[in-house]
Subunit: 103 residues, 2 copies
Amino acid sequence: SPLAQEIKQTIADHKVVIYSKTYCSYCTRAKGIFDQLNTPYKKVELNKLSDGDQIQEILSNMTGGSTVPRVFINGKFVGGCSETASLYKSGKLQDMFYVVKDC
Amino acid sequence: SPLAQEIKQTIADHKVVIYSKTYCSYCTRAKGIFDQLNTPYKKVELNKLSDGDQIQEILSNMTGGSTVPRVFINGKFVGGCSETASLYKSGKLQDMFYVVKDC
Ligand SMILES: N[C@@H](CCC(=O)N[C@@H](CS)C(=O)NCC(=O)O)C(=O)O
Ligand SMILES: N[C@@H](CCC(=O)N[C@@H](CS)C(=O)NCC(=O)O)C(=O)O
Ligand code: FES
């Protein structure tokens, strides 16, 4: 569908995409993590979009779940708030961003 | 107003009252804390009530904020998720429930 294509394009076009709702503290926390890393991200606020429900449904088909936040990095689904926070605490999230050249 | 009276009655009638929304992880967490303590609580799921928005507005007048969760213990406003979690971690929440007789 055109909307599914649009979603796939968004995920391909941005290093980090966060499907979110503006009133949700879990979404605020996920965004805060990327703010901490000084990493730009594309946020899609589903409660502010007329097709927000449809987007959430397509995301459910794509990723197996429809909750927010739904975080994509490098075109891949990474998880929600818990997964993002867990990757951040373990340092694995940072690895997705910084490229250290070998000496 | 009758609705404000109803709210005051609810807060007076139950040891713990949690104003909540069913989809909200912060609300789930607040409820989980009282589940941990094996303490019964009255939950009011605002997104499931036709007058949910009005209740939220009255709560804002009563407590200075309209976010959820909004937790009352012994008829007093205690706070949201952060305050409840903080009281639990410090042991102060438990003190509100167990009465230890002096020897
Ligand atoms: N464990 C998940 C929890 C996600 C979750 O339950 N999100 C809630 C909001 S906090 C949700 O999407 N509820 C349904 C909805 O808003 O459509 C995570 O860490 O992201
Ligand atoms: N720091 C507050 C955060 C409360 C908060 O921002 N709640 C959000 C949902 S997670 C909210 O009520 N948003 C507006 C709404 O749903 O009406 C707490 O610990 O309870
Ligand atoms: S809506 Fe409250 S944490 Fe997501």
